[in-house]
């Protein structure tokens, strides 16, 4: 058993063919197997390492008559034509006259002229050519040479190939009568080992395994078998993926960016008193953003527990700066928060003076009718940078840094207005279809906002509240904001992971 040779089907067929012919070209073998030569080259290499065949690489020259060669064979060689024409002109003639008579190209003519002179069959002097018919040696060798060339041309016209190029071929090639094409060839020969093994019946065709089973693995059967090749041109189906929601994946990435920039995540209640949602933010009670068309108020009659001192401080600020009758009952109404800025306020209120950064990334609510670009509920990325040296430039710098990390491109800034910040800014990025879109609203919290929260004068706060959904749509390549909040498994399974999250 040990000296058996097990070959896959194709190799087995090759050695059979080689053994039959003893010596053949790779082309012929491939043809016999109904394959292309390149299909069997790997097999041949393997068979050679097993010493069952020997390969030799040789060149083969295919010789063919050129167009000129074909003409000469039919209507005579140029030198024959020349001699014939000279004879016709009486044995001597001016070069010009012969040229007119003989009808050769300028090149042919001068080549022939040189050749015949060298042979001594003609002599040329002062533009006159004379035939030396008396020079018998010359006449004989001329005839012999012509005869030989014509015979060779005749031979070649039937199609020949050679393994080397003899001088006479080179001569014809030089005279442009033939074309030589080189072909590389692999010659396969059977080794004595192959012949012997075949004779002893020790070369066998391998079994084919289509599926690996525990039995195949355990039995060792795979050793003498060939595992069937898969046809990769046949398409396979998709698998329904189990996955994290793409929007959640995006939000998670945003969290990673913020924590990377030194922000601590904070959270606050979804249901806020108007006090926190508006009044503490220096939004006057007559401001249109507090209208029922812009805020969800509650039907529930919930209990209110609020710091009386804080209420008093807010009242004083509104009445002394904005000068209108501030009503506590307006401030003590519950709302579904319209932004997460109250979360920032609560953070400042809790942490007080210090150098810190905080963010929150949660839902806010506004009475809108859902459509492709609007929702009554969406995510806001809220943040603050608190410190003695924090400036408006820190805020602009944050926007640029954030845009860079989310791969959003260039950021442009424009003045903006929010009741609770001064200066205020709106950052714009370029949307591939919509042009410049506003995505980064922010500013420095006013002292009217910070004073009731108990932050000392020397601390400043850069703040922003980004509607992150618009950016999410851009990054995820969605045109409909409702698709971010989707429970449609088909859509979730189909959305590709955004490139921006993989850079």
């Amino acid at each position: 058993m040990k000296d058996q040779v097990i070959l896959p089907r194709r190799m087995y067929l090759i050695v059979e063919e080689v053994a039959k012919t003893r010596k053949a070209s790779a082309d012929d073998i491939a043809k016999a197997l109904g394959k292309r030569k390149e299909d069997i080259m790997r097999d041949l290499a393997e068979l050679e390492t097993k010493e069952l065949i020997k390969t030799r690489h040789i060149s083969k020259f295919i010789i063919k008559l050129s167009r000129d060669g074909m003409n000469y064979l039919v209507s005579g060689l140029p030198e024959e034509k020349f001699v014939k024409a000279l004879k016709k002109l009486g044995g001597t003639a001016e070069l010009k006259n012969i040229m007119d008579e003989v009808g050769l190209s300028r090149n042919e003519f001068s080549a022939v002229l040189g050749r015949l002179r060298k042979l001594g069959l003609i002599s040329v002097s002062k533009g006159i050519v004379a035939l030396n018919e008396g020079n018998y040696d010359a006449v004989i060798s001329f005839k012999k040479a012509v005869q030989e060339i014509k015979e060779n041309l005749h031979r070649i016209s039937k199609g020949i190939y050679l393994h080397q190029l003899p001088e006479w071929i080179n001569e014809l090639k030089r005279r442009g009568m033939i074309e030589v094409e080189v072909r590389k060839e692999v010659i396969i020969e059977a080794t004595p080992k192959l012949i012997r093994k075949l004779k002893e019946g020790k070369i066998k065709e391998a079994k084919v395994i289509t599926k690996i089973t525990p039995e195949v693995i355990a039995s060792g059967g795979w050793e003498n078998a060939v595992i069937k090749e898969f046809d990769l041109t046949i398409d396979v189906p998709f698998k329904k993926p189990k996955r994290i929601h793409p929007y959640i994946q995006f939000l998670s990435y945003v969290r990673e960016v913020l924590t990377g920039l030194g922000f601590k995540e904070v959270k606050g209640p979804h249901i806020e008193l108007a006090l926190w949602n508006f009044d503490l933010l220096f939004v006057p009670q007559y401001h249109p953003s507090r209208r029922e068309t812009d805020v969800f108020y509650l039907k529930n009659d919930l209990g209110v527990k609020e710091d009386k001192q804080l209420i008093q401080k807010v009242k004083e600020i509104h009445e002394s700066v904005l000068k209108y009758g501030w009503r506590p009952e307006e401030a003590l109404k519950y709302v579904l928060r319209t932004h997460t800025t109250p979360v920032s306020l609560r953070t400042i209120n809790k942490l007080g003076d210090g150098e810190y950064r905080a963010f929150s990334l949660d839902r806010v609510f506004r009475p809108d009718t859902p459509d492709q670009t609007h929702l009554m509920e969406f995510h806001q990325l809220e943040g603050i940078i608190v410190g003695k040296k924090i400036t408006f430039s820190s805020l602009l710098g944050f926007f640029k840094e954030f845009a860079e990390r989310l791969d959003l491109g260039e950021v442009r800034f424009r003045p903006a207005y929010f009741p609770f910040t001064e200066p205020s800014v709106e950052g714009y990025i370029r949307h591939p279809r919509l042009g410049w879109i506003e995505v980064f609203p922010g500013g420095m919290f006013r002292k009217e906002v910070l004073r009731p929260l108990g932050l000392s004068e020397e601390y400043r706060v850069a703040a922003w509240g980004i509607g992150i959904d618009r950016i999410a749509m851009m990054v995820l390549g969605l045109d409909d904001i409702r698709d971010l909040y989707t429970n449609n498994l088909e859509l979730i399974e189909a959305l590709p992971v955004p490139k921006g999250l993989m850079k």
Binding site: K242, Y334, R363, P367, T391, F413, E422, R446, N487, L489
Partner: protein, 551 residues
């Protein structure tokens, strides 16, 4: 934010300059204006709420004139009119009335249209649609001052736009404005504005009179502001008179005294008040906030182009007069902002310093991600639903209290979910038609009401829908999850909507109830149109986290 429409030709007339599109666009950017529509004759723009002075062509034209330098900012020519408004008999529920005069105007159709637009936009943006402040203006030549603002039980006049006299009560019933604003006045105690002859100028805040209306022939106007917020009213009167003044080549503004005979608590003795504020800003402040060093002379130049009058300048500060129509300027920081805007936000350094502390995610988010990964490993796909759902759906599915919105825009979103069950059933419904089964989960916030207090809480919900699912599949999921977190789940049978009695399990960890698993009752499934067995598991991640951490 208010949307304003102006005529380009009128704007150029007011700005005393012809404007290329490019000039106009860069000027508007500095004024927090966003263009909605523009063509050769018309500009529609959205302006931020704080810039009341830009709610019409008058103020916008003036601002552009200062910016392009066709006019220098200057203070107003104000004189006393020698006359007054008597508010001693004003209605107690709308006790204030301020009146001013602007003379030597030339008005045309477009001017009147603009000033009416201004009046309306101020009502909407500041006056809470006339509740707090109501503005009117009249042809002074048709009025005999002094003016009286008083309460009457009934009166008769020809309202603006109606060809016949009407009683006040009739105005409230049968005119469009009357029906709109009748809630702002009290029956038998109607506010009225009349002149010394008893001619009725207006029934504020409802409708002016026909006899004193402003036309293209009007040369001098009288402007009144009535309402409940005197300081706000003064600001808006200032904006009105200074805007009217833009319609004159040599405007004269006149004040009227306010006579109250000691009745009520009148904070002002006369109106309007156009003295303006004086505010100083230093180079140091600019540097500290904007990170840019500006010499006071550069600051002066910027502030002048934005309409401020430079009073004084020294080596490190500028003192400016703030025009009274800039009601958005409260103190120095507002002037600092204008300097930075004038300098150009895009020229400022944008530079976030290195963090002083490490950042980290909120613990519940870290825990949520741990749970998400386990659920993914258990073969579930994550879905996201809205927190807002139909109040009737919650009511149908549970007896627990929940948050309901008083002013929903749509019934579909009229409440906040108090559990993930409604969201998971909506998920089942949305995917019902598809394939043989779904295994999905959501990690999201809910708001429950406990002891009359709203509590936001992070929950995990899982839904299995398909022909072969039973309660076991839900229990297996929760058991494996809790096992992987190093704890043990204990079941306790219970009766809860919307689950089948006998196929509902409360989930307890260390004796604390953290959630529930159940097979949804066919009654609910058939009502929702989900005709396949549906298993739901819900766990409070806050409770689960506490249980895991405390051990």
């Amino acid at each position: 934010m208010p949307v304003i429409e102006v005529s380009i030709q009128d704007l150029e007339r007011l700005a005393r300059s012809s404007l290329s599109n490019k000039e106009l666009l860069s000027a508007l950017e500095l004024m927090k204006i966003e263009i909605e529509e523009i063509d050769t004759s018309r500009l529609v723009y959205e302006v931020s709420h704080d810039r009341a002075d830009l709610f019409s062509a008058e103020g916008l034209g003036r601002a552009i004139a200062h910016l392009v330098g066709s006019r220098e900012p200057k203070k107003f020519n104000v004189m006393d009119s020698g006359t007054y408004v008597d508010v001693s008999s004003a209605p107690a529920y709308r006790p204030y009335c301020l009146v001013g005069i602007v003379r030597d105007l030339s008005l045309d159709y477009e001017a009147i249209r603009q000033l009416t637009q201004l009046q309306e936009k101020l009502h909407l943006s500041y006056g809470r649609n006339r509740e707090l402040v109501s503005i009117g203006f009249y042809d002074l030549r048709k009025v005999r001052p002094p003016i009286k603002y008083l309460a009457v039980d009934e009166a008769e006049y020809v309202p603006l736009g109606y060809g016949r006299p009407m009683k006040l009560s009739e105005v409230l019933e049968s005119t469009e404005k009357g029906r709109l604003f009748s809630r702002l006045v009290r029956k038998g105690n109607y506010p009225l504005l009349e002149d010394s002859r008893g001619e009725i100028l207006s029934f504020p805040p409802v409708l002016n009179g026909e006899s004193t209306k402003v036309t293209e022939d009007t040369k001098d106007v009288l402007i009144d502001v009535t309402g409940t917020e005197p300081y706000l009213m003064m600001k808006l009167l200032n904006v009105m008179v200074t805007s009217f003044a833009e319609r004159s080549s040599n405007p004269l503004i006149q004040t009227l005294s306010i006579i109250s005979d000691g009745v009520g608590n009148q904070p002002f003795a006369k109106a309007p008040q156009l003295d303006g504020k004086i505010i100083s800003v230093t180079s140091e402040e600019i540097k500290a906030l904007g990170g840019v060093s500006l010499h006071p002379s550069s600051m002066s130049k910027i502030l002048q182009s934005l309409g401020y009058v430079v009073e004084e300048m020294d080596k490190d500060s500028v003192r400016v007069w703030v025009p009274p129509y800039r009601i958005d300027v409260h103190d120095r920081v507002d002037v600092v902002e204008d300097v930075l805007i004038g300098y150009g936000y895009n020229r400022l350094k944008a530079d976030i310093t290195n963090p002083t502390h490490a950042g980290w995610r909120h613990p519940i988010e870290i825990f949520s991600d741990v749970v998400r990964n386990i659920m993914l490993g258990l073969g579930f796909t994550e879905v996201v639903n809205f927190m807002m759902v139909d109040a009737d759906l919650i009511r149908f599915l549970t007896d627990e209290e929940f948050i309901e919105v008083a002013n929903p825009k749509m019934k579909t979103y009229s409440a906040v979910r108090n559990s993930l069950i409604p969201s998971l059933l909506l998920t089942a419904k949305a995917n019902y038609e598809r394939g043989t089964s779904i295994e999905a989960f959501e990690v999201g916030d809910i708001i429950r009401v406990s002891k009359n207090e709203p509590i936001s809480e992070r929950h995990l919900g899982a839904v299995l829908m398909g022909e072969n699912y039973t309660l076991t599949d839900g229990l297996v999921t929760v058991k494996t999850l809790i096992n992987l977190l190093g704890e043990k789940a204990v079941w306790e049978s219970a009766v809860r909507k919307p689950f089948i009695e006998g196929r509902t399990a409360l989930v307890k960890v260390r004796g604390v109830q953290i959630g529930m698993v159940g097979e949804v009752h066919p009654r609910f499934l058939s009502e929702l149109g989900v005709l396949k067995p549906t298993i739901i598991a819900e766990v409070s991640l806050e409770e689960l986290k506490n249980a895991v951490i405390s051990s």
